[in-house]
Subunit: 308 residues, 2 copies
């Protein structure tokens, strides 16, 4: 099934204790699209770029089946730019620069060809943009997945709550789940968030894996223990892309299939951390992914013998 993806297509500059990326292509929709393209043949991207953005990257997306009719190009304007610096633990980071540029007054437009998509991935972005996309759809999609972050909880909680009421799956990290629910226990947080709209919740815990909740069930997918994390930027977006990409490919939104999708999202995210920017996702082969999936299977594989 085809997929609509909404999110930023932008420039990042990343500093870590181990190196700097310089200005590289990033943005939620870039990572989501590249990751989902490992699973689905047709995507429709909805985003905005300036005329400083490399056409080669747009063509790369197109070569992967990502239709760019909904990717607005603004002449004489600059693309969104984010600069950040990771702390020693590579989990927390400070924002050094945020230049909204074309994003400041972005009005998304859903192209006609995208109306047939049954799966929608609302990547991290202003909730009012996410709402506008949902409003433009002729019919309720089969599955809407929302990714967001604490920034929008701080400054746009009411619009965010409106989006929440209209999505099936929410993906956020553990601190965001605590902030959104006001509960410290993730189990309690999940129970509360599942009353806000989504019927399924993914709590991403970075190097500590991811939890999948619905009303009755919990599933845990580990993160792969990595020797080196070069750059975690985009790992959450890559996770989301793999997650919804697999669901759209299999067209199966059961909890059993979502468990597989969480593992595949985690596998994709593990690649994203291996290089700066989107490079690792661009060069990824199916054979490499298959090997990595097997490592996830092995990592949690045990058979228990109950006491005799």
């Amino acid at each position: 099934m085809s997929l609509i993806i909404v999110g930023t297509v932008a420039f990042d500059a990343i500093q870590t204790p181990f190196g700097s990326s310089g200005k590289v292509v990033g943005g939620a929709a870039s990572y989501i699209g590249l990751s989902a393209s490992q699973f689905v043949k047709e995507q429709h991207i909805i985003s905005v770029i300036g005329d400083d953005f490399p056409q080669a990257f747009v063509e790369e997306l197109e070569s992967r089946g990502i239709q760019t009719e909904g990717l607005e190009r603004r002449a004489g304007e600059k693309s969104f730019f984010w600069e950040g610096k990771y702390h020693m633990d590579m989990n927390s980071r400070d924002t050094l620069t945020t230049e909204l540029n074309v994003l400041a007054d972005f009005q998304p437009r859903v192209p006609e060809a995208a109306q047939s998509a049954s799966y929608v991935m609302l990547g991290n972005l202003d909730p009012s943009v996410q709402l506008s996309v949902l409003d433009q759809l002729y019919a309720r999609p089969k599955l809407v997945v929302l990714d967001t972050m604490n920034f929008w909880m701080d400054i746009a909680l009411e619009p965010l709550k409106k989006v929440l009421e209209r999505v099936d799956v929410l993906t956020i990290n553990d601190e965001e789940a605590r902030q959104l629910s006001g509960e410290h226990s993730l189990v309690k947080a999940a129970n509360k968030i599942l009353t806000m709209g989504p019927s399924t919740l993914v709590i991403k815990k970075g190097e500590h894996g991811a939890l999948l909740f619905n009303e009755d069930e919990i599933f845990f997918a580990p993160a792969l223990p990595l020797e080196e994390v070069l750059d975690p930027t985009g790992a959450g977006d890559t996770f989301a892309g793999g997650f919804i990409g697999y669901l759209a490919h299999t067209d199966d939104t059961s909890f059993t299939n979502m468990k597989r999708a969480v593992v595949l999202g985690s596998a994709m995210a593990s690649f994203a951390c291996e290089k700066f920017g989107t490079d690792r996702l661009m060069e990824l082969t199916q054979a490499e992914l298959d090997i990595r999936i097997q490592r996830f299977v092995d990592l949690v594989d045990f058979d228990i013998l109950l006491k005799d």
Copy 2:
């Protein structure tokens, strides 16, 4: 197979954001012994208490097959006492009081009856005490597991390194693994620690689960997502007791069996967090444990369908 356990038998007073325990029985060997008794019928405890320690708890241990010939009782002296306060996250804590009392000059004595034990659990304690126990054994046990903490890395690193050279399995938490190895990546930390003596390493990550490493393999066991963590004190000791208790019960030290032991240790530790002190372990039934083990199985259970 029978088991020697070494560690404190003591009093704790615990404050959390949600309540206070008052003065309760605690200590590494108390938790280890209670946890291991779920699996093994014969243990030999090596520790020291003052005459303020409740005889009823000693009898409880004895009723669970824990022989107390190596539990020294000092007349006119007080038991070890620790008081601590947990932060809001329930992971980090401050020590408010440490009264060594009988522990100040403890000289452990391995009773003759314990010499037949093939499994030895060196609970968190002064490394010189752990070394003394190993020195007193007539023969190398089949398996020695060491638990320790950052405190001993700070003040007794050299004796600790001597103990490390003589054990098969080390269990420490993630921050301790980083401190001991000087490596931030847990994979690199594990590789380095595995050159220091132990052939197997367990890195405990609290609510984020536990990693099991040997030279060639990695296994990850999740922690059970809990609605409430009332008191994590003793969870690591309870984990260690379940881990070695299961290995001693099955008398199988293969990596495959250690994976099961890590899951069982995690299951036992999840109970320890449910009440202050050792109460929850005392009342635990086999039926409750069986149900909990099934929850761990379900938590990570998935089947992956590779892309067609």
